[in-house]
Amino acid sequence: MSVSKRHEEGMTFIVKTVTKITLGFILLYGIFISVGEHNSPGSGFAGGVIVALSFVHIMLAFGREAARNKLRLFSTFLLISTAAAVFLLATVKSFIKIPYFLLTMPLCETVVVGGGLFVVFITLVLIYKEK
């Protein structure tokens, strides 16, 4: 894609610049919400939705093609499947006595929810584009 066409897609230059700055902070806030589950309000699901929202920002500001280039479907699905398998194992076998599982379970939930909702959103948008 050429540079001029990339500037035409999405919203204005101001929105793109602000999105570039705030994207990392939103991502970090989602991880903070999910990791601090055990001693502050918030949960892995809410953190995952905030992570998905930070990716949705890319699509709203930069247009469909940029978000689609960001998304590698096979890697995303591999990551989501691994996180879901680890969470299933941790739930069924109850590894909670090992201290670092305090971090693992919310992070797995964040990965599954964030990646899953972003994939769902992208696919909805792309399907509507093709018709």
């Binding site: 929202l53 739930t91 939930e109 959103f121």
Partner: protein
């Protein structure tokens, strides 16, 4: 307790407005008002974690709904296997209503025995789980089947999305079209 009834009335009014409006975008905004009312109800019922989660989910679903309804030509097919669809819908209605009736019958009244389940968590949680933080024991262990259900729902959605949007079937269709 008067606030909760006010918020419930507000939510019911917004839902009625959402159903009765002709314009799709306006009814999406009314659905967002219902969600915000639900967030306020959670805050009044002293559940800030659920309020955060509901707020974030409402924002995401509002974006998706606006994105989906901003186009006029939505594909909507009412034809096809209507007998199968109706039977399956009625079957699921029956299953859900029966399950809800049976499980709601077992529940205690709203807030009447205050610490029935929480008391068990507080007294036996630390001993059973061997962990130093009560909240971590509750959210990560007693409630982890709840989280597993959420993850199963999202994972099913991802698998369905991959089945719809996979690349192999699309290529074959293009080939047939040529």
């Amino acid at each position: 307790m008067i606030e909760i009834y006010l918020i419930l009335l507000f939510m019911i009014a917004a839902a009625v407005i959402a159903v009765s409006l002709k314009d799709m975008l306006s009814s999406v905004v009314a659905i967002g008002a219902v969600g915000i009312g639900l967030c306020m109800a959670f805050i009044i019922l002293k559940a800030p974690e659920l309020a955060i989660m509901q707020l974030v989910v409402e924002i995401l679903s509002l974006i998706i709904l606006v994105r989906a309804t901003i186009r006029k030509d939505l594909p909507f097919s009412a034809s096809g296997r209507w007998l199968f669809n109706t039977v399956v819908t009625l079957l699921f209605f029956a299953v859900f209503l029966t399950t809800a009736y049976l499980s709601l019958k077992c529940l205690p009244n709203f807030g009447s025995p205050e610490m029935k389940i929480a008391g068990v968590y507080l007294t036996e949680g630390l001993v059973k789980k061997g962990i130093h933080n009560v909240v971590a024991a509750i959210t990560l262990d007693f409630r982890s089947y709840d989280t597993l259900g959420e993850i199963a729902a999202v994972f099913t959605a991802v698998v369905g999305i991959l089945a719809v949007g996979r690349r192999i079937g699309k290529k074959r269709e293009d080939h047939v079209g040529e």
